[in-house]
Amino acid sequence: MPAHLLSSLLFLPCLGLFVLLLSPARLNLIRFIANGTAIATLILSVVIASQFRAGYAGFQFVERAQWIPAIGAQYIVGLDSISLLLVLLTTLITSAAVLCSWNDVLERPKLYYTMLLLLETGIIGVFISLDLFLFYLFWDLVLIPMYFLIGVYGGPRRAYAAIKFFLYTLLGSVFLLLGFLGLYFCHAQQTGIYTFELTKLVGLHPGLAIEMWIFWALFLGFAVKVPMFPLHTWLPDAHVEAPTAGSVLLASLLLKMGTYGFIRFSLPLVPEASTSPPVVKTMVVLSLIAIIYGALVSLMQRDWKKLVAYSSVSHMGFCTLGIFALNFNGVAGSVIQQINHGISTGLLFLLVGFMYDRRHTREISDFGGLAQVIPVFATVFAITVFSSAGLPLLNGFVGEFTILSGAFAVNRLWALVGVVGMVLSAAYLLWLYQRTMMGPIRYDVNRTLRDLTVRERVIVVPLIAIIFGIGIYPAPLFNVLRPAVTALMQEVHPTLGQAR
């Protein structure tokens, strides 16, 4: 196995970024470099996945180096199956996002693609860092390119949305840092060693009271990112103003950083607090509110993109519900749902973007009857809608169903509220589909719309294939996740880890 595979993956987008910065400012060259880098990163991630040993619970491809010895911060990266899946999602979705920007960004393209690639490095870094300080660095690094993507290339209210996004998430991450520092000093107090290394900090047991403080500090950091109710209102604004690629990356990847944080850090680092009844109750109630509330608010949206944004609130509610069901089905279902949400909602945002390119509007009432004009678009949109609504044999069902069974095992009422969310999701999605694709063509502009172009089809086809693939044959996902999730459950709560 060639060494430094993971570091190569992490810094490959950075390399492309520097090449991009040094290259002459010709649009086609810039496009070529950006797409080439994204594809190369995707290929490298697949190579890593092919060498991944599936039956093994611990971290693989681990690399470590001293970084700032004075404070004990190290460069440690590594993968387990949970991070592997999210890394694969990252490289795939980033490739789609880079390719979909082909005609979107004709002014200042260099900065734009630089930011996309920087974002990719940041997100991969978040998913593979095994040192809290390194993680925090990447966590905040992600903010900067996204801030510029929204603020420079966004819609009319971009300044407001960008600043709201930046400040909101920065506020969260300050608390995150405080939580990390709390763990750092607790560890130093107990052992005299100052370190940010994740595996060393696990099993610290500083006592429930301190764990509680740390949990809620981490909560503020992660919950803003997910986003959990009621910390979600930065999301619709950021989505509506962001360019298509920005929305796709935001929904598919950035939100997953929050749920990943809960799984990777909150649960194993402060297990006593994470499993204490008040915390579980609060988290579950907030998740259930998000599921129902996000769906209801979606139902009322007049803006296509905002509707999809609020649907993310609802779908991410399932992810956090699964995590705090604290059993195998809940957590595994949550990870699968994160992947599925990344694919389906990413695709929904891509489709909104394709339509915005054509019509320069996102008002739902400006459309109607489009299935007559652009049947391929309508078909792809239908598959995506049903995938998002959780139809069996498509990907969305697998995750939601597994999460619900995890929740049901703990408390039937949770699952009951969850299925109400499923009914509502069919309602807002199908109503959206009806208002845009079905009915008579109300505006003549819509009669001459172009169907999906070759480039758009190239983006869409792999995602659709994955939608069917996961839906029809989900067993490999579970098999890959089983060791890591089982190990996590044992760390968190030995008795619960055994059961189901």
Binding site: L296, A371, P375, L404, S405, D451
Partner: protein, 637 residues
């Protein structure tokens, strides 16, 4: 047990499922990836679909023969979603074999009929592809060996139904109906999802064999819970009160689709589900009783509404709801075989009624209002004859298939000892006879009530299926099942009721139509109640949908904008105001103090400063003045 015959039968079983699956894929891939429908309708998709349906009948019958001794054919199983048992398996026994062959027969007839009925439609591939897609999913539903796999087919037929109701998606009513059907069904599906989860937790698997074997060992509460949740699912799919609201609207789909999906097969999936789960209702008879009550209420309700409907397809839709109510009643009382028998006879006569209605609508260029028809007997003799057979079968005329199956159900209701249920059954039979003959009278008898062009029968491909199904209506009672015997009294009684109903309809709709005005006067409120469909639609749409769901959603959206985002913006705005205030105070108070101090120092220094001009000339002249003054002082002294 594993002999060559049963292996061959298993292969036939899988092939019978794969035939429509392959057909669905092929129909969209043959003819290239052309995305827009052809300008002129093509005929090959229809012929292709008919050929595949014929092939799959053969396969289904071959597989079905293996189950004739009551044996079940179970294929090897594997996991679909890990943690939910080996759900990927097929199971064919009398219950599914019965419905599988029935599905294939009706499917063939409907495909054949559609060739003629849909020949003007440009998008043949989408239509026939949709039908094959439906048949494939219905087969998955019937053949599945586990509840989880059944659920995949269950949702698949829902999707097919959505796509076909919305075949004319450019019409707003069709689009509305498709969306409504899917969402209302989703309510039932929610129950199904919870039922599957509950049974996995209780029994460790969702396979029928495992669940039925372990059902007696699990707590009674779990049995009741699982059983009730499955009832919720069945009520949604089979359009039972109060989740029936989607079915009448689903009539927006092309009429052959209504014949196949919304009368004969898909809507009976709920009956199949409950029959499949009858071991639960044996263990928890209280849930079974609830099923019977639901069925009885639905049967009476829908039959009474069918009395006053004027849209030919909506009459049939309410009739379907009512007949399925009968089946639910039988299921709830433990008479599974009677229910399944009624599923079969109902499939024949109801799909025939729909095909005939389609033939009428086709001949009248889209007219569906019974009040505008009349006198079609002479112009459409084949349709008239076959529809009469179907309507009389529905009415329960002795000797026709519907008579036998309905009698079994009525017999079961008398035997059960729940007299109110039996009375509701008899009353519903009377109403059924009345509305079925009312339908015939209004459409075919008397004279045309509207001026119209001459109507003509459709093509042979439309007439043949009608004739075949009419033959089934006549023969099914005699050929397929030994004649049931429920006793002379009941048989004569129900025959009398059917004849009485027909006589009443004859009286009010053929002999003395003018007498209806008096009827309307005397029973005005009742008629209004029926015309408003017992106000169920109004309650559902105005109170539940608009009053509760949409109002809550609106409240949530407003709360989100004002309260939650408002407080975020409020915090941002107040921090900005606070910063502005600080900035002001920084400028005027803090820096003001500094400036005041400096100003005071400046004030103190002004006499001195007056001399500090920086000009050499000034200093020189002051110096000169002082020197001169000093000199002058000394000189003057």
């Amino acid at each position: 047990m594993v002999d060559a015959r049963s292996v061959a039968a298993s292969y036939a079983l899988v092939a019978s499922f794969l035939t429509p699956v392959a057909g669905t894929l092929l129909i969209f891939f043959i003819g290239g990836f052309r995305t827009h429908p052809a300008k002129t309708p093509q005929s090959w998709p229809g012929i292709f679909a008919v050929a595949l349906s014929a092939l799959s009948i053969g396969l289904s019958i071959f597989a079905g023969i293996a189950t004739r001794n009551g044996a079940a054919l179970i294929t090897q199983s594997g996991e679909w979603i890990p943690g939910f048992g080996p759900a990927l398996s097929f199971q064919l026994d009398w219950l599914s074999a019965w419905l599988l062959i029935l599905l294939d027969v009706i499917g063939l007839m409907v495909n054949l009929f559609s060739i003629g009925y849909m020949k003007e439609e440009p998008d043949q591939r989408r239509y026939f592809g949709g039908l094959l897609f439906f048949i494939a999913n219905m087969k998955l539903l019937l053949l599945a060996g586990s509840y989880l796999l059944l659920f995949a087919g269950w949702e698949g037929v829902g999707l097919a139904s959505y796509l076909l109701i919305g075949y004319h998606f450019e019409r707003p009513q069709a689009a509305d109906a498709a969306t409504k059907a899917f969402i209302v069904n989703r309510i039932g599906d929610a129950g199904f999802v919870l039922a599957i989860i509950a049974m996995t937790l209780a029994c460790g698997s969702t396979n029928y064999t495992t669940v039925s074997a372990s059902a007696s060992h699990i707590p009674h509460g779990s049995v009741v819970l699982i059983g009730s949740l499955l009832v919720v699912a069945a009520v949604g799919k089979s359009a039972q009160f109060p989740l029936h609201v989607w079915l009448p609207d689903a009539m927006e789909g092309p009429t052959p689709v209504s014949a196949l999906i919304h009368s004969a097969t898909m809507v009976c999936a709920g009956v199949y589900l409950l029959a499949r789960s009858n071991f639960l209702y044996v263990l928890a008879p209280e849930v079974g009783f609830g099923v019977a009550i639901t069925g009885a209420v639905t049967a009476l309700f829908a039959a009474s509404v069918a009395l006053v409907e004027n849209d030919i397809k909506r009459v049939l839709a309410y009739s379907t709801i009512s007949q399925i109510g009968f089946m639910f009643m039988a299921l709830g009382l433990g008479a599974d075989r009677a229910a399944m028998y009624h599923v079969a006879t109902h499939a024949f006569f109801k799909s025939l009624l729909f095909l005939c209605a389609g033939s009428v609508i086709h001949a009248l260029h889209g007219e569906q209002n019974l009040k505008h028809m009349g006198g079609l007997r002479k112009e459409l003799p084949v349709t008239f004859t076959t529809m009469c057979v179907a309507a009389l079968t529905l009415a329960g005329l002795p000797g026709l298939a519907g008579y036998f199956s309905k009698d079994l159900i009525l017999g079961a209701s008398f035997e059960s000892g729940y007299t109110p249920l039996a009375v509701i059954g008899l009353l519903t039979s009377l109403l059924t006879a009345i509305y079925s003959w009312r339908l015939i009278s209004l459409a075919f008898l008397s004279h045309p009530r509207r001026h119209r062009l001459a109507a003509h029968e459709g093509t042979a491909s439309m007439q043949i299926p009608m004739a075949v199904l009419a033959a089934c209506c006549v023969l099914a009672g005699w050929l397929f099942v030994p004649i049931p015997w429920t006793g002379w009294r009941l048989m004569l009684g129900s025959a009398g009721i059917a004849l009485a109903g027909i006589a009443i309809a004859w009286h009010y709709y053929v002999r003395h139509p003018e007498a209806r005005a008096g009827l309307d006067q005397r029973f005005g409120p009742v008629a209004a109640f029926l015309r408003n469909r017992w106000f169920v639609d109004a309650v559902f749409e105005e109170h539940f949908l608009e009053g509760v769901v949409l109002r809550t959603a609106k409240g949530a959206a407003m709360g989100d904008a004002l309260l939650i985002d408002g407080s975020v913006n409020g915090i941002a705005a107040s921090s900005r105001e606070f910063a502005a205030a600080l900035s002001w105070s920084d400028g005027s108070i803090i820096d003001g103090t500094v400036r005041a101090i400096s100003g005071f120092a400046r004030f103190l220094s002004w006499p001195v400063r007056a001399f500090q001009t920086g000009f050499l000339q000034t200093y020189a002249s002051i110096f000169l003045v002082i020197v001169l003054a000093a000199l002058g002082y000394y000189l003057a002294r």
